[in-house]
Symmetry: C2
Subunit: 122 residues, 2 copies
């Protein structure tokens, strides 16, 4: 357990009493945590399929259920998680609840990921 030689409590590498150089330390903890949360939510095949639909247009749960050929509670659970991560937002209209991507930033992230997934072999 004493493999890491404990320099200064400051953290990285050698230099004792200087500010930790610059970017040999990871991004802000909160930032990473939030980003990881988003990525984790996007990192599931079923959810990403769902999101690839919402990337085109707003849809209600029934519609999603039909397009994805899956059972409704399953879809609803996925939407719940995506809502918790603020990746989608809802709008109620009568008995229907419509879902869409939360913002264009998210839309970009998804579009980029899918674009990368499309590349030939790489």
């Amino acid at each position: 357990m004493a493999t890491l030689n404990e320099e200064e409590s400051s953290g990285c590498i050698g230099e004792p009493h200087h500010e930790v150089p610059s970017e040999i330390r990871p991004a802000e903890e909160k930032t990473c945590a939030r980003a990881a949360g988003i990525f984790r939510a996007l990192g599931d095949l079923s959810r990403l399929r769902l999101l690839s639909l919402l990337a085109n247009r707003e849809m209600c749960v029934t519609e999603l259920t039909e397009c994805l050929q899956d059972n409704l509670p399953a879809i609803s659970q996925r939407l719940k998680l995506l809502r918790a991560e603020r990746i989608v937002v809802t709008r109620r209209q009568g008995k229907h609840i419509f879902y869409r991507l939360a913002d264009s930033h998210i839309a970009h992230l998804i579009a980029n990921g899918l674009a990368h997934g499309e590349e030939p072999d790489e």
Copy 2:
């Protein structure tokens, strides 16, 4: 299990013998799978912290271990997974193995995710 009325094997909604409209069907299966794989790999706090370092510059495992204040096998396992998803690539130099992000597309994805994570409250 007979909740979904089985239309045509084609897939979505009602219209029997037409092409499935347009984008009421999810993106290509392979595309989604690959993209989900990438997102899943990015969707872990420890791995994302690691990647936020590699976003700045190439680093060897020992260096990463020091910066992240974690034990070496743990880091190595994470790198193995990231390598498997082709998110990072390696280069050997003497006894050291240097890791860096696989391409600029991945770098963008990570930068975008972190940027979104930085936003105030939202």
